[in-house]
């Protein structure tokens, strides 16, 4: 026979290695990306403590097998040891307060131009506190940012001691940022070009809308808006770039029929749901019923505490891997699949 036959599926004689392992599951893939990867704040506290979300080598694994497209965090850790930026709280003047009803207040706050520029990204938020004590930090979404005027716009509703302290402070608060992981599905929102996108906004999550709408418009998308009413949405002054909007009570039967009609007529290529879990579920269900398969980004519903992946308040489990939700970029469906261990 001129050809040596190699039998399947038994192994042929292999003399190179004496301890072969059979196929089993490899090391867990780190799900999602890190919102801070490649930013001024990378490598971060987690990388320094051997728990980088992205870099398997910094985590102590032998294989270099990250999922990140961008500069190598290991290389960065070599280039800038101890020189990378850390977010620090800085005093910031309160330039204006606007009461918009139902205990909600809009704050115009002074912020350095560079920080303000970094807060134009979808999902941007900052930690603020009205008192010196660090335990009063609370995350607030950035409604709009004006880098040229060194000013950002925030909104909060008085609910507990942290927000009460914000209400009580006079002309100054403490500000720490930028943070960006205030939504799920950055890659959906930031990659869509020249398509129809529908934003459905309700409750406090409406504050995510303006930054998302501006990004979508900048990328040549047609943006449609649906506000859940009542009450009247307070972000409308910051969404003037979108000329028309639907005002629908999503909690009524008539409203559910109306949103169904909107989805059927607009056939969005992409969707953002800023609201609570029931709203996300309603939209998903309605889309399914209509046979629409557009990807949907959502506002985040997980709790947020330190924002740096350190405190563990937001840790959940996904496929056997612990997820630090404040840093990890997951798609909404991945977040839903995760188990909340908190």
């Amino acid at each position: 026979m001129f050809i040596d036959s190699v039998s399947w599926p038994e192994l042929s004689d292999f003399s190179g290695l004496d301890s072969l392992r059979t196929v089993k599951s490899g090391p867990p893939t780190a799900p999602g990306k890190c919102i801070d990867a490649g930013s001024d704040f990378c490598p971060c506290h987690l990388a320094e403590s051997g728990e980088c979300i992205v870099c398997s080598v910094l985590r102590g694994e032998s294989e270099c097998s990250c999922q990140w497209t961008g500069t190598c965090i290991l290389a960065q850790a070599t280039w800038v040891p101890g020189l990378n930026h850390k977010r620090e709280s800085l005093p910031a003047p309160i330039l204006a307060r606007i009461e918009v009803g139902a205990g909600t207040e809009i704050l115009h706050v002074g912020a350095p131009s560079r920080l303000a520029a970094q807060l134009t990204r979808p999902g941007s938020f900052v930690f603020v506190r009205g008192r010196d004590d660090a335990c009063f930090d609370t995350p607030l979404a950035v409604v709009q940012s004006f880098p040229g005027q060194q000013r950002i716009v925030l909104a909060y509703t008085r609910m507990g001691p942290k927000t009460q302290a914000l209400s009580d402070c006079s002309d100054r608060l403490w500000l720490r940022g930028p943070y960006w992981n205030g939504i799920r599905g950055h890659e959906i929102i930031e990659s869509v070009r020249g398509r129809r996108v529908l934003l459905v906004l309700s409750g406090m999550a409406q504050v995510c809308g303006p930054n998302i709408a501006r990004t979508l418009l900048r990328n040549g998308n047609q943006v449609g808006l649906v506000y859940d009413t009542p009450p009247f949405p307070f972000v409308t002054p910051y969404l003037q770039d979108v000329p028309t909007a639907h005002f629908i009570n999503l909690n009524s039967g008539r409203g559910r029929a109306a949103i169904r009609d909107v989805l059927r007529e607009e056939v969005p290529d992409c969707l953002f749901s800023g609201g609570g879990k029931p709203q996300h579920a309603l939209l998903r269900r309605t889309m399914d019923e209509l046979g629409l398969t557009a990807p949907m980004a959502t506002s985040r519903t997980r709790r947020m505490c330190c924002g740096e992946g350190i405190c563990g308040a937001c840790v959940t489990e996904l496929d056997g891997t612990l997820i630090r939700n404040c840093k990890t970029c997951l798609l909404p469906e991945e977040e839903r699949a995760g188990r909340d261990n908190s």
């Binding site: 190699v6 039998s7 190179g16 070599t78």
Partner: protein, 430 residues
């Protein structure tokens, strides 16, 4: 229809895709991480030097010469000598990739660019699907891993001098992921002659138009230029760091050896500090096009355990080729392993026999010799190429090295391999 999924569009993956089309109708999908085929071959160009000529002719005679012919078709220089090497052909690194892309498309290969594979799913020993960077799963019947061994950036940082911004372009397209490692199969890591981990790619590219007019003329005319280096600029230690043992000759340390690959001049050393390079007459205005004056990609960190039919040990339906399958250096070597892996992938699907090539052919012998070499004391430091080093020596000792077309034809004919890979049905043809 059955599906064969080839992961990695370098020379090995392209060869595997062509060979996998044989037999019954099947869907051959080639997943490539970047937007270009050929991988490291985009900065390559050297064919048919020394024993590679024999292997290239063997491939052609066995019916797997489409890629060899394509390289011949865009050659900038044919049948020329450079230090330590004879009858070489250089392909144009500018014209090569478009030619291969057209060839594969014409042959019905389903090319999918920006298709980086990040994970793999298996039941028992059977691979079921690969996961792409866009988080979708792609199922298939047989898989061929041709992900290579160069990079990603973390390895170039750990074992080299950092990212050289080479043709692999990891920062733009994302890192290479070893599927065997994801499966929990331990990859074999190569060592350098100097005891460090991995090897540096052996050459970098200068912009030809940044060289002196005289050097450009020499390159255009001869395909090669050899410029003596001042003693102070001779870095002999570099020879022990490079992957290409066939070019780890003193002459390559004592001179600047350039090869003409069309728009670029291939500088036959992993890197050369630009300031020092510009001290050499003719190089006063030299600029790098790929690579840099301080680093190059790190390779040979990811060799899968395999049998001589290219199947990955411990799996039922995963094959491998190229640098993934051994410490092989070069395009011709990748075409050989890729062709065999693609053929066997198709054979596995069609219910036929998987084969290994006979050791009386250079193509078969190098595959078996490389695997045997792993068990030796210095096995991790060896590299295998038809064009030089220990394997070319072996070719000559065994009488496998031949340049006479009639002799090679006679050998392949005697082995019954003429047209073997081209045959629609191997058993019928035999």
């Amino acid at each position: 229809m059955s599906t064969i999924i080839i992961i990695g569009g370098g020379w090995a993956g392209c060869a595997a895709a062509l060979a996998a089309r044989r037999g019954k109708a099947k869907h051959v999908i080639l997943l490539e991480r970047t937007d270009l085929l050929l991988g490291c071959g985009l900065a390559g160009g050297i064919m048919r030097n020394n024993g590679r000529h024999t292997a290239a002719e063997e491939l052609r005679l066995m019916g797997a010469g489409a890629l060899v012919d394509a390289a011949d078709g865009v050659a900038t220089h044919v049948g020329f000598d450079f230090p330590g090497h004879h009858h070489a052909t250089l392909y144009s690194t500018t014209r090569m990739e478009p030619a291969v892309r057209v060839l594969l498309r014409d042959k019905g290969v389903d090319l999918r660019f920006l298709g980086r594979v990040v994970d793999v799913r298996a039941t028992g020993q059977r691979i079921e699907a690969v996961r792409l960077a866009d988080r979708t799963w792609l199922g298939g019947d047989v898989f061929v891993e041709c992900t290579g061994s160069a990079g990603p950036m973390g390895n170039c940082v750990r074992y080299g001098n950092g990212c050289a911004m080479c043709m692999l372009r990891c920062p733009s397209f994302g890192p290479r992921v070893s599927l065997t490692a994801r499966l929990g199969i331990e990859d074999v890591v190569g060592m350098r002659q100097d005891g460090a981990v991995g090897s540096l790619s052996g050459s970098c590219e200068l912009r030809k138009d940044s060289l002196s007019a005289a050097l450009q003329q020499t390159l255009d005319r001869d395909g090669v230029s050899v410029t003596p280096l001042p003693a102070a600029l001779v870095h002999r230690e570099m020879l022990n760091r490079k992957s290409c043992r066939q070019y780890a000759l003193p002459v390559f340390a004592e001179n600047i050896v350039l090869l003409d690959t069309g728009g670029q001049a291939k500088l036959m050393t992993p890197y050369f500090p630009l300031e020092q390079l510009r001290e050499v007459p003719g190089f006063e205005r030299a600029l790098y096009s790929h690579g840099s004056g301080m680093s190059n990609s790190v390779r040979f960190l990811s060799r899968a355990p395999r049998d001589d039919g290219m199947r990955v040990a411990g799996t039922d339906n995963l094959l491998c080729a190229g640098e993934k399958s051994g410490f092989f250096v070069g395009h011709t070597e990748a075409m050989v392993t890729g062709t065999l892996a693609g053929y066997n992938a198709a054979a596995l699907l069609d219910g036929g026999r998987a084969v290994s090539l006979p050791r009386d052919s250079a193509c078969g012998d190098i595959i078996a010799t490389e695997a045997e070499g792993l068990g030796r004391d210095d096995g991790l430091r060896q590299r295998y190429t038809f064009s030089g080093g220990i394997y070319f020596e072996r070719m000559r000792e065994r009488g496998l090295y031949a340049t006479d077309p009639a002799e090679i034809r006679k050998r392949i004919d005697r082995l019954g391999l003429t047209g073997f890979f081209a045959a629609v049905d191997h058993d019928a043809a035999a």
